[in-house]
């Protein structure tokens, strides 16, 4: 069964993601908040996709504050983990946020909260986890 890692600092919204993914998508769901834990899970190879919240209050990595964009950057900069798709989920929904967030983080896709259409969200999750094209290096 495919495994999705949910990174979300609001506990109610984390549970909502878990329920949508489990009940509608029949995925296995893991949840993590600390940057170290997130990176370790992604590196372990058990994670097929990360749903990543952008604002993480007071999360720190190597002594510096870091948000979902920064953690995604770390995942994408590491050769071992860059093939794990990341879907940014954020309530930063002002004009221009989408483009700048995708560019800054290197994430594959973006979805804004509130997530009104669950199917739209699951379609994104599903297509991002589709088998990579034939010329894929990994």
């Amino acid at each position: 069964m495919k495994q999705v890692l949910v990174v979300e600092d609001d506990p109610i919204n984390a549970r909502l993601f878990e329920m949508i993914l489990k009940r509608r998508g029949h995925y296995e769901v893991k949840m993590a908040e600390s940057p170290h834990e997130i990176l370790a899970l992604v590196q372990s190879g058990q994670v097929d996709l990360v749903v990543m919240d952008v604002s993480l209050d007071n999360a720190t990595y190597e002594g510096k504050e870091i948000d979902g964009v920064g953690i995604t950057r770390l995942i994408k900069d590491d050769e071992k983990t860059r093939n794990v798709p990341v879907l940014l989920a954020t309530a930063h929904a002002m004009i221009g946020d989408r483009e700048s967030l995708l560019e800054e983080s290197g994430a594959e896709d973006y979805i804004s909260k509130p997530i009104v259409d669950h199917k739209y969200f699951l379609d994104k999750v599903h297509s991002l986890m589709a088998p990579p094209p034939a010329d894929h290096a990994g």
């Binding site: 609001d10 506990p11 919204n13 329920m19 929904a93 804004s112 509130p114």
Partner: protein
Amino acid sequence: MEQTNQHDTTEVARLREELATKTEELLRANAQLEEISRLKSEFLANTSHELRTPLNSILGFLRLVLDDMCDSHEEERDFIRTAFESAESLIDLVNEILDISRIESGRMPIHLESVDLTELFNEVYLVTHLDAQKKSLKLDFHPPEDKSLRLRADYGKLKRILLNLIGNSLKFTESGGITVRTIPAVERGFVVIDVEDTGLGIRPETQSRLFDKFVQGDGSATRAHGGTGLGLTIAKSLVELMGGVITLESPGPGKGTRVSFTVPLYRTEDTEPSEWQRVADLGAVVKGDPKNPLLLIAEDDPHFRNMLEDLAHDSHFSTVYAMTADDTVLLAKKLKPTVITLDHALLVSQHAHLTDGWDAYKALKTDAETSSIPVIFISGYETPIQDGLVATPSIPPPRLIMKPFDCAEFTRALMEEATRAKVGPELPT
């Protein structure tokens, strides 16, 4: 002929200088407007983000229920309850955002009155002690020993500040307790109120940011404890609107937190000194040598006013004071003082036309009789003035002195404004 030329040259030089000053003033006003606009956009973006978080869970859980995605009847009820709780936090958030915008636009009504701390503490205890009991926490209130002590504050606002601070402590304390103390500083004209807990504490790098909008303490713990991240911002603004200051300190994680704020004392008027002269029809008194330039002090806190009077007398000014905005304008017209100093927070009498320092300033500057009198504005809070200036761009910005108050800065401002009044273009040369 030669004399006329020389006169023209002087006039040109004077106009040039005036133009340079005006240009500088405009540049400064423009920079201020840009900063205000930037802060407003930032607030809008943050607000949108914070509203979407509870909305996401309301919509999401209800969708799951409607689509029959629940395992059991219990789970269905649980999803609905979660959506309901998120709706409750959404309404808290909306109310607090409205309060913030009310405060920032200077429309938060503050009704200063004489407040008895013992009475206030009893009332706060009534609504907080059950929550403390539930967590087996001690909750102690220490009202001032001098039972006659009264604060000059808005009772409801003071209660709200205390409930907010105690509420925070209750959330983040698992053992030990919460102590509310009062430390009177009567000779300095205020009382310190301390809310101290033995809870989670706060990391030093976060402490300074906690009064900012939407900033919460320790990430995981706080999110789990809910809250809007606006409570302390509102508490700080309310303390400042009543003429106090607020500070927060924590020795570090796990070592508790202490929030202290000051509230001015309410004092009945001292008997009037004999050297005062009566301005009979207004009931106001001029203190000091009447041959000296006159400073009109609009200040309702007697202790702070005494200090301003002393500073003015030391600089060879005579003084007269007003407690309300209406009286300030009336006295300014009647006495034509050399300089006026205005506090933003003033007593509001019943049936008042003008309610605060900014109102008085506006009235003074738009009346030809008083518009040329220089004004020194003393405030703990810049926003009402900035907003006022934006709303009425024709009014020149006042000279502003921020609280905490610096005596030397005040004396300097007083001398400079008095000099400017004397050589100003309004006076015939």
